[in-house]
């Protein structure tokens, strides 16, 4: 008998336990409900071919073209893509997906989009599941109370071949955000602030469960933004226990359970909460009211400040590593200490990525965009074609276009800059994506990470802007 069964359990314990096939000295073989793949999975497919293996459960693999797809002039077809290596990745992915009979969401599928947007909106991401993705932001799906994390090609191959993978059990950290977020403060500001507080390595070896009244009040979109960026705190994943907001989001989704199955599923899902007195390895409590609109100024995510602050002075950091970090970040970013963040001019704006490209994000950005005209190139790249259609049904595309924003097809686009959309050298971008790392949006490109509304505001003013100065 398992002695842990009597102990109060965390949500992690419950989901983990349900997927445990076997244990070998503290390493577990876990059953995986879904594997998510994008075009970058070529090395996993190469290895499949080399080893002559077959896919164990093709229907539990989702092949989503998102990284290399074109987000404008797509209707010209894949053969119109000038960069043959990009075109080759798309064609190779389609060949592989079809060769193994995988559900395939290619460039022209009406539900195409970023895998972390598509799986939830189709109702495939459900509480209690274990989802593995060949992509680090698979943590996004933890917003539904499932265990979801990114893996490399070797583990992706393993899941393809066996629908399972080997894992050590992570520790669990709970971050409770209590109280209410202020107006104009979003899940993005919250998660940037959390990473800055706890550090970009605090999560290593952990899963972070987000809890507290501010998280309970948050939409699924907000929870996805939070869990999406848990990986940027070093965590294996983020986790939010499911509740009525989760069930309402899933109800009626294409692949969610229906009728009597729905009732049975909800009854199970309702049990997916941490028991009272469950043990956490770390606990952090945050006052929601203390969070303000924020933006990154450096080349790592903990290099974040509130928008009305100034560029930090390296002299205020301890001699050695801490000071060197700030100095090298400021040098790359081309910023002078003491400069008010709101006076930093930007060259372009990117609204998109699996962090902030869902309908709620586009609504927030459009509400600002409609108040003026973009003075720098500003792109809106919806997370999926489904989001795009919904936004068009709501008239958001018109608001954006009239305000001088570009309205694109769905994909990762300038978040990771491998489909041909990238910053020019030393261009400065206000971006709703998730990584401000050196070269992330193009070689020597400079990235300031912020919320969708703040990105739209920056487009209208041509500089980083305090959203609180808008109505």
């Amino acid at each position: 008998m398992n002695p842990t069964a009597q102990r109060p359990q965390t949500l992690l314990d419950k989901v983990w336990g349900r997927h445990q096939i076997t244990e070998v000295v503290g390493e577990y073989l876990l059953y995986s409900d879904y594997l998510l793949l994008h075009e970058g999975a070529r090395h996993a497919f190469d290895a499949m071919l080399e080893t002559g293996r077959t896919v164990h459960r093709p229907h539990q693999v989702l092949a989503c073209a998102d990284h290399y797809v074109q987000t404008h002039h797509r209707s010209a077809g894949v053969q119109a893509i000038a960069d043959l290596s990009v075109r080759g990745m798309l064609e190779r992915f389609e060949r592989n997906a079809k060769a193994y009979g995988l559900p395939y969401f290619g460039s022209f599928h009406p539900q195409q989009g970023i895998m972390h947007v598509v799986a939830p909106e189709l109702g495939l991401t459900q509480p209690g599941l274990l989802i593995v993705g060949a992509d680090s932001h698979t943590t996004t799906h933890g917003a539904f109370g499932c265990l979801a994390f990114g893996v490399g090609a070797s583990d992706a191959l393993h899941v393809l071949a066996t629908q399972s993978l080997w894992m050590r059990k992570p520790k669990i950290m709970r971050i409770s955000v209590e109280g209410a977020l202020s107006r104009h403060v979003t899940a993005k500001d919250l998660v940037l602030t959390l990473i800055t507080h706890i550090g970009a390595e605090a999560g290593i070896g952990h899963i972070i469960e987000f809890a507290g009244s501010a998280v309970r009040a948050m939409s699924m979109e907000g929870r996805m933004t939070l869990c999406n960026m848990a990986v940027e705190a070093g965590a294996l994943s983020g986790l939010v226990s499911p509740d009525q907001i989760t069930f309402d989001y899933l109800h009626g989704c294409q692949y969610a359970p229906k009728d009597a199955d729905w009732d049975q599923a909800v009854a199970y899902w309702k049990g997916l909460v941490s028991d009272e007195d469950a043990h956490y390895d770390h606990e952090v409590t945050v006052d929601a009211a203390s969070i303000a609109p924020s933006v990154t100024w450096g080349t790592h995510l903990h290099q974040t400040a509130v928008i009305d602050a100034v560029v930090p002075d390296p002299q205020n950091f301890a001699v050695g590593e801490a000071r060197d970090d700030v100095e090298s970040a400021l040098q790359y970013m081309g910023l002078t200490p003491g400069t008010p963040l709101t006076s930093i001019p930007i060259d372009r704006v990117f609204i998109g990525s699996c962090t902030n490209s869902r309908i709620e994000d586009l609504r927030a950005a459009a509400a600002i965009a409609r108040q003026g005209k973009a003075v720098v190139p500003a792109w809106v790249v919806p997370g999926s074609m489904t989001v795009k259609r919904q936004a068009e049904a709501e008239g958001l595309d018109r608001l954006f276009i009239e305000a001088g924003f570009e309205w694109h097809d769905a994909g990762c686009s300038m978040c990771t800059a491998i489909n041909g959309d990238h910053l020019a050298e030393w261009e400065r971008c206000a971006s709703t994506s998730n990584r401000n790392f050196v070269g992330r949006q193009g070689r020597n490109g400079r990235t300031h990470i912020l919320s969708p509304a703040m990105a739209a505001a920056a487009a209208l003013t041509g500089r980083l802007t305090d959203i609180r100065s808008f109505g």
Partner: protein
């Protein structure tokens, strides 16, 4: 998978914290097939100018570090993207072992699955080894998995932890799929029961159709 027992090589000290996988292997090189095509990819944008000239002050462009087989790094090495190509780039350069105070989680796993050994040692010990290496360029160190120690440039041993199953897989050169095949019966039984317990997951209409 190649086995890993012990590895002695010139070690390069890298003092920059939080080097993400995009620095180790810039995104545009992900498209390449694993293998020799990755030889110039490692730290590409730090190693080469946009015109593809070598950056003379980058450590791996200096002798004797061109022949380095180990990197002693800073905190959070390999954070960021899950791309396994970061490990292919290390392998193509000839790096078989890494020593650092902490590693990006997915990167750490990816290393183990390619027979590259990532060793976690204390911050202070890593700093001490990096200093030794700066003082005596080209010094060799040993990462000994059998004995679970790193022997530094002065001959001092530093024990490290590694999960026993991972250690055994590396020593035996056993890949995960082969390991899992030993549990085929347990896996099949588990899946049968799982599908009974959550019938809605596998009901036709509740998952997208396959392609052909």
């Amino acid at each position: 998978m190649d086995s890993f027992i012990s590895w002695t090589a010139i070690a390069a000290p890298l003092d920059i914290p939080s080097i993400d996988t995009n620095q180790i292997c810039p995104t545009r090189f992900n498209k390449r097939a694993k293998g020799a095509a990755f030889d110039t990819v490692l730290f590409h944008d730090l190693r080469f100018t946009p015109q593809d000239a070598e950056q003379p002050n980058f450590i791996l462009n200096r002798d004797p570090y061109r022949r380095a087989g180990i990197i002693v790094a800073e905190r959070n090495f390999g954070c960021g993207s899950s791309r396994e190509s970061a490990v292919y780039a290390l392998l193509a350069f000839g790096i078989r072992a890494l020593v650092a105070p902490s590693f990006g989680e997915i990167f750490y796993t990816n290393c183990l699955k390619n027979s590259v050994l990532p060793v976690v040692l204390d911050d202070a010990i890593c700093a001490r080894i990096r200093n030794q290496l700066h003082d005596s360029a080209g010094a060799e160190i040993t990462v000994d998995l059998q004995r679970q120690v790193v022997r530094d440039a002065t001959g001092a041993d530093h024990p490290f932890d590694i999960h026993p199953l991972r250690r055994q897989c590396l020593l035996d050169g056993l890949d995960d799929v082969s390991l899992t095949e030993r549990y085929a019966d347990a896996s099949a039984a588990f899946e049968r029961q799982y599908r009974q317990e959550f019938p809605w997951l596998t009901k036709p209409g509740n998952y997208p159709p396959g392609s052909s």
